[in-house]
Amino acid sequence: MSLTAGSRPDGTRPPAAVEEPTAAVGAAVAKARVPRKTSKVSKAGKVPFRVRLRRDRALILMTLPVILLLLLFNYVPLLGNVVAFQDYDPYISSNGVTAIFHSPWVGVEQFSRMVDDPLFWGAAKNTVLLFALQLVLFFPIPIALALLINSVIRPRVRAVAQAIMYLPHFFSWVLVVTVFQQIFGGAGIIAQTLEDHGWTGFDLMTNASLFKYLVTAQAVWKDAGWGIIVFLAALAAVSTDLYEAAAMDGAGRWRRMWHVTLPALRPVIALLLVLRVGDALSVGFEQFLLQRDAVGVGASEVLDTYVWNMGIQNGDFSYAAAVGLVKGAIGICLVLGANKFAHLLGEQGVYQK
């Protein structure tokens, strides 16, 4: 079954065959190690550009539509971010583009404004804290739920449980916050019940010190069920043969989960984790905006609400662009770092080394 070198017309070695035959099945159990070898090989092989072009032209053509769409709809407007170095007034000239040439250049003034703004640092601090909290308390939950659902055998129970857990994802944040207010608020169901028994003053929704946990709980309630869907797709690709083989070898329920199920999920978990880390500076927008007045800006301001408030609400386009650039740069660094870390753990992450 294994392929030999030279089987491809251009003479490069194909990806090495995977060691264990079981792992070759579908689920990428051990593939992390595969591409790395390959890329080394192709680098060492120094295949001429033209040969590679001819070999890969189909692949390039397939990728092109997406690249063109992104260049057009993302990169062209991205050029507008030069206004971060201006005091941009989109109305100074006949249209917003020519206005760039008429707006004064201010160098890094917008950036130094940001550094000097205590509100920015408060928002940054909240963002990092909330990200850490969500990473620990939120991220593992969909995985655990997916494993749980996967272990259920009755299809009807599975289907119903899944369908129910998806639902909250489709509620808007306005509704989620309203429902939480009606249950946990100072005039909510719990407060009223306590009031009847003589305990007064219960109000979870305006408690600034518990706000971090409150929003994490809301996020779990709303999106954890939806988050399981990708993991279920990954689990669907695991052959029962693997479980059977493991069971034959005497592996029990938990050992099978550890040695078959989890490895099958690993690449997906690593990918999502890397992307989540890269997106660390976005911990939610609407959810926080809706509740900022309840607990105050000190507890609830995150970078996205800060940008909205400074840039959109106040119409300060240059400042918003500056903060956006910094956010993007940090995001890129984080994703590179996380990817590197994934490599160290033998995972592929988003792209290989």
Partner: protein
């Protein structure tokens, strides 16, 4: 078509594989108890939402908020929302945009994900960098608007599809799954003289049904629930998709509830009840899509297909 047969099949008693040990009593109790708890956590609030959407206005007024215990029932919120022809037209628009958009997005995304899935291929790293950067750097509203406008896309349905057609996240997930498919399978096809497109269509895609279903769902849900682009790029009321129409119908802009839609003004409807009805309507696509997606999640569905 096969939803029914699917349902029938799923109702049949499940077969536990011979190698799997029967679960312990305690295990089953713990598991089902926990699942039930999760579902209750969702259904409880959902109950409040549904009850409020079905409550007559005096009840909602008396309670002064969401209704927990039903006291009378009325469907007037739903009939009011669905009458007038506006919603039905908007549903057609939304269905059209969602279907077209999802097909288009899936086509370009699957192609790109496959195009980037072979390790060491020419330019894939550059392409990945180009794609990833867009995840972190966003353009402002004004430059994006000016671009869409100068392309002549404002006031066309294309403005609801093209600018948001590509989700890099979705492509990366697809790519990860494609890369997980054993290279041997594709290599043997290649030896048989199959081109990349044929490999994608005949080998990769059939093996990736679960993830294709998931990503289609992601795209479809994205198109279905999008409203901001329409509010900025469209100015013709007759072109508005469902979400925008629903927002307009229940809009509560200010501290002043008299600004709500006409039915509220006549004093017969409660704004809150209407909003809840809109929320319930928003759940319908999930109910429709769930069985479709679910049948791709059967455990071990690839048995035999990919044996080494």
């Amino acid at each position: 078509m096969s939803l029914n047969t699917q349902l029938v099949r799923s109702l049949k008693a499940p077969a536990r594989p011979v190698w799997e040990e029967p679960p312990s009593k305690a295990g089953i109790t713990a598991k089902s108890g926990f699942l039930a708890l999760c579902c209750l956590g969702v259904l409880g609030p959902l109950w409040i939402v549904i009850v409020t959407s079905l409550s007559p206005k005096p009840v909602i007024d008396r309670v002064g908020g969401l209704v927990v215990i039903p006291q009378g029932i009325t469907f007037v919120n739903y009939t009011e929302l669905l009458s007038g022809g506006q919603v039905s037209r908007a549903i057609m628009v939304s269905v059209g945009v969602t279907l077209t958009g999802t097909v288009f997005s899936m086509a370009v995304s699957v192609l790109a994900a496959y195009g980037l899935s072979r390790p060491g291929s020419l330019g894939h790293r550059l392409f990945l960098v180009i794609m990833m950067a867009t995840m972190f750097f966003g353009a402002g509203l004004i430059p994006t608007y000016l671009l869409v406008q100068s392309l002549g896309l404002t006031d066309t349905y294309l403005s609801l599809i093209l600018p948001s057609a590509v989700s890099v996240f979705n492509i990366l997930v697809l790519r990860a799954f494609f890369m997980g498919i054993s290279p041997e399978l594709t290599e043997s096809a290649r030896i048989d003289g199959a081109g990349d497109l044929r490999i994608l269509l005949t080998i990769i895609m059939p093996l990736s049904r679960a993830v294709l279903a998931v990503i289609s769902l992601f795209y479809a849900v994205g198109y279905w629930s999008a409203w901001f682009n329409a509010s900025i790029y469209l100015s013709d009321q007759d072109m508005m998709p469902l979400q925008n129409v629903l927002i307009q119908l229940v809009q509560k802009n200010t501290a002043n509830p008299t600004g709500l839609q006409q039915a509220v003004r006549t004093g017969q409807l409660s704004a809150l009840g209407l909003q809840m009805a809109v929320m319930v309507l928003a759940l319908i696509p999930v109910a429709v899509a769930s069985p479709f997606v679910q049948r791709h999640f059967k455990k071990g569905m690839l048995t035999g297909a990919v044996k080494g």
